[in-house]
Amino acid sequence: MREINVAQVTETVAQLCIDACLYLGDDVVELLRQARKKEVSDFGCYIFERLLENLNIAAEQEIPICQDTGMTVVFLKIGQELHFTGGNLTDAINKGVRLGYQRGYLRKSVLTPLERVNTNDNTPAVIHTAIVPGDRLKIIVAPKGGGSENMSRLKMLKPADGIEGIKKFVLETIVEAGASPCPPIILGIGIGGTMEKAALMSKEALLRRAGTSSSDPIVAKLEKEMLELVNKTGIGPQGLGGNVTALAVHIETYPTHIAALPVAVNIQCHAARHQEAIL
C-alpha cells in the first residue's frame, strides 16, 4: 500500500491556495478575450479590457485577482490503495489553508454563521472527498467568493416541469442575481440525484475546463441553449447591459428518484479559481 505523509498534503494545499488566488486559468482568459470581441456595449468592452488588465497586474505584482479570496473548497480524489501517515488528513488540509492564506496575504473571510466571529485564518475549509481506484491523491483547491455564491439557488422541481421548467428556473435565478455576482459569469448546474447531490454537482461542474461541452449530446445541447438564453437577458458585464452575461454553462447530471427533479445553479464570477495537484 502506497503511503503519503499528510505534511505533504499541507504544503501542497498551501501552495494551491496561493496559486488559485493569483493566477486565472488560460481557459477563462481565452473566454474573456473572445467575449471582448463579441460584446457590443461600450461599457461591456471597457469592462472586459479592465478585467484582462487586472489579471496581468495580479500575476505581475502577485496580488490576488479579487480581494474576496473566498471560502476554501477542497476536493480530494483519494486512491483506494493509499494510506495516509503522520496525522489527521482533515487537520492537514486546514493547516494548509491557514499557511496559504497567511503566506499569500489572502483575505480571511470565514466566520461563525450566527455569532459572526471571524476565525482569522480562513479555516475551516469545505472538504469533499471521493474514493477512486488507484494509489494517487488528487487535490483540487477552489476558493469561492461570497458575491456569486450568494446568488446561487437550488430547487426541487416536479418531474412534470421537465426541461422547460429547468430553463425557467435557471433564467429566473440569473435575472434575480442581476449585477450582484459580477457578470460575466460561469454557470455550474447540477440536475438529478438528491438535494445535496445536485448542489455538489453544480459546484463540480465549475471545475470543468471552462467552455468545454458535456460528453452527453443531450446535456451538451441544453448547455448551448442555456448559454444563449442567459446572454439574451441583456444583463451584460457588471449588469450594466450587454450581450455577454455568461462565458459558459456547464451541466452535470445524475439519475434521480421517480418523484424528483432537483436542480442546483451555482453561479461563478469570472474569477473561476481552481488549481490542482496529484501526489
Binding site: D42, Y46, C66, G178, C182, G234, A271
Partner: protein, 185 residues
C-alpha cells in the same frame, strides 16, 4: 470612448449634481471603507446618539474588504463588494450627510429615493478587478473597528479611481436602463 471626468472626495456638491448616469469618472481624494459589519455598527451608533468614528458629512464610502497588504505595499486587492447588502443601512447614512457610495450592483428603490432626496451619487467600480483597483490606493490607515479585520473602517487616499456613475443625484438608475437596451426575445 467618452471623455473621463475628474471628481473629488470628500464630495463637492457642484460636481456631484452635474454627474449623470453612464459617465465614466476618475475619483481622487480621501474615502472611507465600510461593508456589512461596519455599516451595522455605524447605524447602531447613530441610533444610540453616539459619535461616529469619522465625520460623515460629504464623505464617500467604499464598500470593500481589502486583502492584506504585502510588505512594502499600501494595500492588497480592493475591488467593490455587492452594494445591495448595505441597502437597509444606507438611507439613514445619506440623511446624515453621506454623499458618495462606491460599490457594485443594483440598489433598492428606497436607496434610489434617498440618493435623489439628498443629492448624492452612487458610483460603481468593476467587481473582480481588485488588483487593478489597488493601484489607485496611495495611503491606507485604520480608523476604527480593528476587531473586524478586513471589515474594519479604513481611510484611503486614492488617485484616479476608475468608476462609472450608476445612480445620479436626479435618481436616474443605470441598472434600470442599461440591460433593457440589450435584452433580446
Amino acid at each position: 470612448m467618452s471623455k473621463i471626468k475628474l471628481i473629488q472626495a470628500p464630495a463637492i456638491q457642484e460636481q456631484i449634481t452635474k454627474l449623470l448616469i453612464g459617465e465614466k469618472v476618475y475619483l481622487s481624494g480621501v474615502i472611507y471603507t465600510a461593508r456589512d459589519a461596519a455599516h451595522q455598527r455605524l447605524v447602531n451608533q447613530l441610533q444610540a446618539g453616539q459619535p461616529l468614528p469619522f465625520e460623515l458629512k460629504n464623505q464617500a464610502l467604499f464598500y470593500v474588504g481589502p486583502s492584506p497588504a504585502k510588505p512594502g505595499r499600501v494595500l492588497g486587492a480592493c475591488g467593490p463588494t455587492t452594494s445591495s447588502r448595505m441597502d437597509s443601512y444606507t438611507p439613514i447614512l445619506l440623511e446624515k450627510g453621506l454623499k458618495m457610495m462606491i460599490g457594485k450592483g443594483q440598489r433598492s428603490a428606497e436607496v434610489v429615493d434617498a440618493i435623489k432626496r439628498n443629492k448624492a451619487v452612487y458610483l460603481v467600480a468593476i467587481g473582480g478587478a481588485g488588483a487593478l483597483m489597488s493601484q489607485c490606493i496611495k495611503k491606507a490607515e485604520l480608523v476604527d473597528y480593528p476587531d473586524l479585520g478586513a471589515e474594519a473602517i479604513r481611510r484611503l487616499e486614492v488617485e484616479k479611481m476608475p468608476l462609472i456613475v450608476a445612480i445620479d443625484s436626479q435618481g436616474n438608475n443605470l441598472f434600470a436602463v442599461g440591460p433593457k437596451q440589450y435584452a433580446r426575445e
